[in-house]
Symmetry: C2
């Protein structure tokens, strides 16, 4: 008898009642995303896997008292770095909100640290109770005009995919859609390197024949859709629609208008970016579900869109549902419509009793800035107009403005009276001393200055 | 530029309108199984793949005049041998009825010819316009009490799966569920050999903890379900429900009672066995769709259950729908509710103009019967009772009866007056001369005899 058949023999014996199971959660109302019903059940668990819904002798029994039970939630697209947390701290916080798995794109850290950043994200999330799957960043740098900290090629894509077949599911959002459409060799080579793996898309407003071309090149999902008309075309053409509801972008209320009784299996909820304060306050995917049910979607559909639909899209076997053979990730709820979480289980263990530590060392600082003098901030002009970036509150797009320059000692300077601030970008990856200067309007900065190295996508010091 | 990126460059150019496409079917009403709508579209095709729904310059234009267009149909479980046709003849006939792909289990021919039979089915269906995918037979012989023509082990399963990764999708119906539950080593070894591949189940009436055990061992679908209660438990526990409507078994009208707005993605239509006369007369999967719509199911759901749902279950990428990047398999209909077929296309070519020939040689006869004398048919008795197989019209199960023997010259003989016939099974694989004798009631055989070698599952001469 081999190891595989021995494992089968053991699990068959347990399922037939020949050995006690580890855990029995008795008397739940199971939100069953497979049969599309809510039905009474017990949840028997052994070795982190659901055994069945029957009565079993168990090492530990939890009386659920008729509470609702939903599968652990899945976030189909998130950049963990943008939460400002390390993977284990992110995982612990998300798990308390019912999240069982995330599919993350380490695009930000890869643009700073390259392959070493991806290795860190993998190492720091290895073996955590919450499963962190990775999509291989496709756009490092984001465009050829950026001063990023690294450049990854199709050879890197092949290398990572072959070394982490279980953890890296495919190629992350191909945001360089102009490059794809124009046949840019590097972009196409990365798509080809992904082969038959899942390839995520990123194609805001792409339509018609150009959308066809993009799809034929491989990308199969989109999370940048903002209108029902755009969503409808993308669904018709076979894209999996990630309905994004994150810290900055809120597309859910609009996009649920595209759902009908026959297409929700092609859709999932994702957060894309979720800041630590939102995770602490409103929650994670649970917050999206709450809002979606408040907007009138049926709870069963909403739960499917946050569990089995993403598992299927990413070809994750035996995840995203509570059924025999599935990983024992589930959430007990005091109330379904408000998604009032009573307790969370991952691999059949309470999240509150689970270990979220990681031995992976946090990388050393990657900020390397050349020695600066005030002189580099000078914008020498005589007089005339300045090109100014005009911020639009709550939007990611900006305006192109022209302002009369305020000149002091032969240099253009900030003018808080007109809400005109000076902007400087310092290259921070290789201490080259390169500086970009400009002006911005709309910050409301009366005095002082702001600086940070969280600056998409290359994260230079700004 | 590599071959892969060149291929991408070409398809992107075609999609953007830079080169003419091969075929444009203009003005269809597309039954879109992805967006869950029926919408107007053109179908542009190049190199056998759908390019888009827009207007394109094309080598050939077909005016569809507003006809309905549905994706080519998929039969998720069929034994082609039981049609009594060779694979190319079966494929040609099924294709005319709108079938684009079948997932077949060569269980019957494997029980006669072993691996050589499977090789023949693969060779004879290789490259046909209709795609024939194979599931590796799991039960050769069906049970250890059979005199089959071959025995296949887990080593054979591994061998075939590794040699045909594109054509053999997984392990076929594990009908030896008693063997699985009792931990029979050979059955478990075959399940283990299938690894993460799709494993089809076969578990009539299995329920409760035993069903849990069976599922945990790997099988993920069932086509033997006959009641709504049985279907509901299997769906709840995560099985994909194949709703069978074949030449002998008719489960559709009963089982559609389990469907609701949230679970049909877990279900598909299959035929299991479809005789040549039914294929010629009523059709294939199209016949099931007609009946399902007549029973009141919405056309969109019915079409999903015969296309994308099976493609997803078997993890077939870019099949089962009409969308950019999908194989150009589709059917034009004069009427949707009656599924009145106007024309069928496979790989973007009319079925009527497609080549269904195969160069694979048909295997030599595998019937090897020892020389027989009338003497072997004697059932020597003095007097007393006979055990008799009692047929029940229209059912697969039989009764155990006791009849007073009619004795002539010291032997029990047939007695047409009481509808009592003698039954003989001659081993036909190795000419061993082994004969099994018995009596059967309910045939209505007044005189003469019947013989055949189509006798499930070992196909001895009966």
């Amino acid at each position: 008898m081999t190891e595989s058949t021995q494992r089968l023999t053991d699990i068959i014996a347990a399922a037939r009642g020949g050995q006690p199971v580890d855990l029995l959660v008795r008397d739940v109302r199971l939100v069953n995303v497979l049969s599309g019903e809510i039905h009474p059940a017990n949840i028997a668990v052994k070795d982190g896997v659901v055994i069945g819904f029957e009565e079993y002798e168990a090492g530990m029994v939890v009386e659920a008292g008729g509470r609702f039970c939903v599968p652990g939630l899945i976030d189909g697209h998130i950049h963990i770095e943008s939460s400002l947390l390390t993977p284990p701290r992110f995982a612990e916080l998300a798990a308390r909100h019912g999240t069982a798995a995330v599919i993350c794109d380490p695009h930000e850290i890869a643009n700073v640290m390259g392959g070493a950043g991806i290795e860190y994200m993998l190492a720091a999330s290895e073996g955590l109770p919450l499963s962190v799957f990775v999509m291989m960043p496709s756009c490092v740098p984001a465009t050829c005009m950026e001063s990023a900290g690294a450049a990854l090629t199709d050879a890197d894509v092949l290398d990572f995919l072959s070394r982490y077949p279980q953890r890296i599911l495919g190629l992350a959002e191909m945001m360089n859609y102009p490059g794809v459409l124009s046949g840019h060799d590097g972009a196409l080579a990365k798509l080809a390197a992904a082969g038959d793996r899942v390839i995520d898309g990123h194609a805001p407003l792409l339509t018609g024949r150009d959308l066809n071309a993009y799809l034929l090149a491989g990308p199969a999902s989109d999370h940048e859709t903002t209108t029902v008309a755009e969503a409808r075309e993308k669904l018709r053409k076979g894209m999996h629609l990630f309905i994004r509801e994150g810290s900055q972008e809120h597309n859910m209320l609009e996009l649920i208008g595209v759902l009908n009784d026959f297409n929700s299996q092609q859709t999932s909820f994702v957060s894309d970016d979720r800041l630590v304060n939102d995770l602490l306050g409103r929650g994670h995917v649970d917050d999206i579900l709450r809002r979606a049910m408040a907007a009138g979607l049926p709870p069963l559909r909403v739960v499917q869109m946050a569990t089995i639909n993403s598992a299927r899209y990413f070809r994750l076997q035996r995840r995203g549902a509570v059924a025999p053979g599935y990983r024992a990730d589930f959430v007990l709820l005091d109330d379904l419509e408000t998604f009032a979480i009573a307790d969370c289980y991952l691999r059949g263990r309470r999240v509150a009793d689970s270990d979220f530590t990681s031995a992976a060392p946090i990388p050393a600082s990657a900020v390397r800035v050349a020695k600066l003098t005030a002189d580099v901030l000078r914008v020498p002009v005589e007089a005339g107009h300045l090109r100014v970036i005009g911020l639009i509150p709550g939007q990611i797009i900006t305006e192109h403005l022209l302002y009369e320059a305020r000149v002091e000692d032969g240099s253009a300077v900030a003018d808080p009276g007109r809400d005109l601030a000076k902007l400087a970008v310092f290259e921070r990856h290789r201490a080259t001393g390169r500086v970009g200067l400009g002006f911005v309007s709309g910050l409301g900065l009366a005095r002082g200055a702001l600086a940070g190295t969280v600056a998409h996508d290359s994260h230079n010091l700004i």
